[in-house]
Amino acid sequence: MRRRLFFLLGVFLFFVGLWVTGAKPSELLPNEGGRETASKFLMAAFSPALDFEDPEMRESEVDFIHKLGRVLGLTLRYAVAAMSLALLIGIIWGILGSRAWWSRSSLFLQTIRIGSRLMATAVRSVHELMWALLFLSAVGTSPLAAVLAMALPYGGTLAKVFSELLDESESSAAGVIRMSGGGGLAAFSAGVVTRALPDLVTYALYRLECAIRSSAVLGFVGVPTLGYEIKTAYEDGHYREIWTYLYILLAIVIFFEWWGTKIRNLLTKGVASKKPDVRQPDVAELWKARGTSLFLRGSLLVILIGGTMSWLLEDRWGAGVSWEQRIQNLDRFTDEIVPYPVRESNDDWGKVGPWFGEKMSEGGSEAVSQTFHLGTASILLAGILALIAVGFSARTLASFRPRGIWDGYPAWRAVIGSILRGGAMLGRAMPEFILAFLLLRIFGPTVWALILALAIHNCGILMRLGAEVIDNTPSQASSVILAQGGSRTSAYIGALVPTGFTRMVLFLFYRWESCIREATVLGMLGVASLGFLISDAKVSLFYDEMVLWVALGAALVFLGDLTSDFVRYKLRGKHNR
C-alpha cells in the first residue's frame, strides 16, 4: 500500500514539475530544423572524426590527433590536480566530521563534528561551475582557478562520504586497541581506517571519474578542456568531431569503472597466499608466499605519479597574471559583491532586506521554484524509466537462465539487456551539462532539453544501481514464479521489486539531491532557472546579484541534501530492521 502511495505521489509530483517548469508535451517533438540537426548529429555518431572537419584546418600545421591528445591531457590534468587537493580536504574534513574519530562524546566535540559536516555539506552545495564562475570573476581566468573550483566542492563531497564510511566501519577492533592501552589515533588508524580503506579508495576513484566529467564541463566557462572543444565544434557544425570527444569521454568513464571495480575487488577480497615451496617454511619463505597484487602496486604508483605530474606539468598556474593584479581583482570583486543599495548608501546594511525582496519578486522566487521542480521532475522521470529498464537489463533476469531457472526463451532478452546496459553506460558517461547543451540545439529553447538531459544521465546511474540491487537480492519467490511458468516480468514486478524497493528508493533520493544541484547550473544554458540568472548577472557584471543567486542555489541544494539525508536515514533504519 505504501509502495503504491509512494509511486502515485511520484507520478503526481512529476506532472506538477512539468506544469511549474512550463514543459509542454508538444515541445517534445523538435521542429524541422531541430529534426534535421538531430539526424545529422546522430548520423555523425557512426563516423567520428579522426581529422579536422574544416579543410583549412586540415591543411594547417596543427594535427587533430595531437590537439585531441593535448585537450585530453589538460582535462585529465586539471581533474587529477583538483582531486589530489580535494582528497586532502576530504580526508581532514572527513575525519573531523566522523563520529568514529571523536571517541568521547561531549557537547563541545559534538559541535565540532556536526559543524564540520555542515560545512562540508555547504561547500559541496555550490556546484563546481558556480565556484568556477566565482573564482574566474574574482581572480581572472587561470588553471589554478579551475582546479580550485573543482577541489572545493569535491573536497566537501569526499569529506561527507568519508565521514559516513568511517562511521560505518567503526567496530570492536578499534575498541580492542583502545582497551589494550593504545591511543585514540592508533585505534582510529588501525581499527577504523584500515577497515574502511577499500570503500574509501573506491569512492575516491569514482569521484576522480566525476572530476574528469566536471573538468570537461568547465570548458563551457572558458577553461580549455574537452567541453570547450565540444562547444566550439558545435558552433562550427562539426558534429563528427563532437562524437570523437564524446567517445573519448565514454572510453575514460569505461576505463575508470573497470579500474575502480578491479581495485575494489582486490582490496575487499584480497589475494590468496600461495603454498610455500618447502615443507617447514621459515618467515622469509612464508613472506615470499604471501598474496600480493602487481596490479594494486602498479595502480598506486600510477596514482602517485599522476597526482605529482598533474601539478608539475603546468607551468602557468596563474596564467601569467601578477599577484598584485590578482589582489586588485579580488579587492574589486569583494567590493562589488556587497549589495548595490548598501554600497550606494555607505554601508547601510538595513537596505539589504528590501533589495533581497525586490530581487526575489523580480524573478528569484520563480527561478528557485523552477530549479526545484526541474530537478524533481527529472529524477522522477529517470526513476520511472530506470524501474522499467532494470527489468530487462539486470543480468540475472536477462540471462538465458533467469534467476537460475531455464525458461526456454530465445536470445533476444539477452540482446536487449546488453543494449540497455550499453545505453546506461553511455548515459552515465555524458555529463548532464553537455547533454543539455546538445539537446537544446535539437529541441530549441525548451525546458524539456534540461529535463531529458538530467533524466538520461541519472537514468543511466539508477539503472546500474538498480540492476545491482536486483542481481544481489536473494529471492526464492522470484525463482518460484519462474519455475511455475511465470514470465520474467512477473518475477521482477511480483517478487524482486517489492524486495529491493526500499534500496531503490534510497538511490532515488541520493540522485535527487544531485539533480537539484545540477539543475541550479543548467539554466546557464539559457532556460529560466537560477543558473540563467547567475549567467545573466555575470554578463552584466552585477556581482552582488550573481553571488545572491549562487547563495540561493546553494541554500536550495543544502536543504535538498539535508532532506535527502534525513529520508535516507529513515529508510535505511527501516531497511535494516
Binding site: 577492533a173 575498541g175 592501552g181 588508524s189 581499527g191 582490496l267
Partner: protein, 243 residues
C-alpha cells in the same frame, strides 16, 4: 589482583550489574556463566574499565579505574587483554598485522604504523613463534578474512597473548563454533594462560566446559552473582529462575 566492590552498572532503568563484590586472584582461571542477558558482558566491561560503574569500585592492582586517566589509564589497560565476542579483528589486514595491534600501547602510534606497513624481521619471528603456539603459523601472512572461524579465534587469542597482559578477558569467544572446536579453543586458551601465569576470565554458555576446565565458576543471574566457587562445589541450578 582485580577487585569489584559493590560494583553496579545501570543503563537508564535497567540494572545490568547489581552490586557485585568479587575478587579475582592472579593466575586464576575464572569462568562467568549465566543465561543470555544476565550481565556477563557488562561485568567484563567493568573489569577492564570499558564501562564505568554507576556506583561501587573496580580496583586493579590497588588502583581504582575511576581515578585513572591519560597515561596511567592506558598503562593499566595494557595489562588487560580483551577478546570480544566478535573477536575485534580487522578482516582486511593480515594475521601478523592484526597481532601487532595487541601491542599498540607499547608501540605508540608511529610504532604501530611501522608494524602495519613494514614489520621488521625480529617482530615477524616473534609473531611466528606465537602463532606456532596457537597452531596456525603457516597463516602468518594471510588476510584474516581468508581464514576459517576457528583460525580467526586463534588469531584473536594470539593477539591477546602478544600484548603480554596480566589478565585476559574473553567474552564468549567460542559462542559461534561447534562443540568440538569450542572445547579445543578453551583448552588452548586455558593452557596458554596457565603457561604464562596469566589470569583468565572467560564468559561461556556451556556449563560442561565451565565445570571441566576452570578453577572457579561465577554464575550470574539478573546482574547478581548467585554462585561462586570451585566447579564441583557450586549448585548450577541457582542460575535459572525455576519459580
Amino acid at each position: 589482583m582485580l577487585e569489584l566492590q559493590s560494583a553496579t552498572l545501570a543503563y537508564d532503568s535497567v540494572v545490568a550489574v547489581d552490586s557485585v563484590d568479587l575478587e579475582i586472584r592472579p593466575g586464576e582461571q575464572v569462568c562467568l556463566i549465566g543465561p543470555s542477558g544476565c550481565g556477563k558482558t557488562s561485568l567484563l566491561g567493568l573489569m577492564n574499565g570499558r564501562l564505568e560503574s554507576s556506583s561501587g569500585r573496580v580496583i586493579l592492582n590497588g588502583k581504582e579505574f575511576k581515578s585513572l586517566s591519560g597515561k596511567a589509564l592506558k598503562k593499566t589497560r595494557s595489562k588487560i587483554a580483551w577478546i570480544p565476542q566478535d573477536l575485534g579483528l580487522v578482516p582486511n589486514l593480515r594475521v601478523n598485522q592484526n597481532i601487532a595491534c595487541g601491542r599498540a600501547s607499547k608501540k605508540g602510534f608511529c610504532g604501530l604504523m611501522r608494524s602495519l606497513l613494514l614489520m621488521g624481521s625480529r617482530e615477524k619471528e616473534e609473531v611466528l613463534d606465537l602463532l606456532k603456539r596457537v597452531g596456525i603459523e603457516e597463516k602468518i601472512f594471510h588476510r584474516v578474512d581468508h581464514l576459517s572461524g576457528g583460525q580467526q579465534q586463534r588469531v584473536a587469542i594470539a593477539r591477546a597473548l602478544y600484548q603480554r597482559p596480566q589478565m585476559i578477558l574473553a567474552d564468549e569467544p567460542v559462542s559461534a563454533v561447534d562443540p568440538e572446536r569450542a572445547k579445543s579453543l578453551v583448552e588452548l586458551l586455558i593452557g596458554l594462560s596457565r603457561e604464562e601465569g596469566q589470569t583468565l576470565v572467560m564468559s561461556l554458555h556451556d556449563i560442561d566446559l565451565a565445570k571441566r576446565y576452570f578453577d572457579r565458576v561465577i554464575g550470574l543471574r539478573k546482574g547478581q552473582v548467585v554462585i561462586d566457587g570451585a566447579p564441583d562445589e557450586v549448585d548450577l541450578t541457582k542460575l535459572y529462575d525455576l519459580s
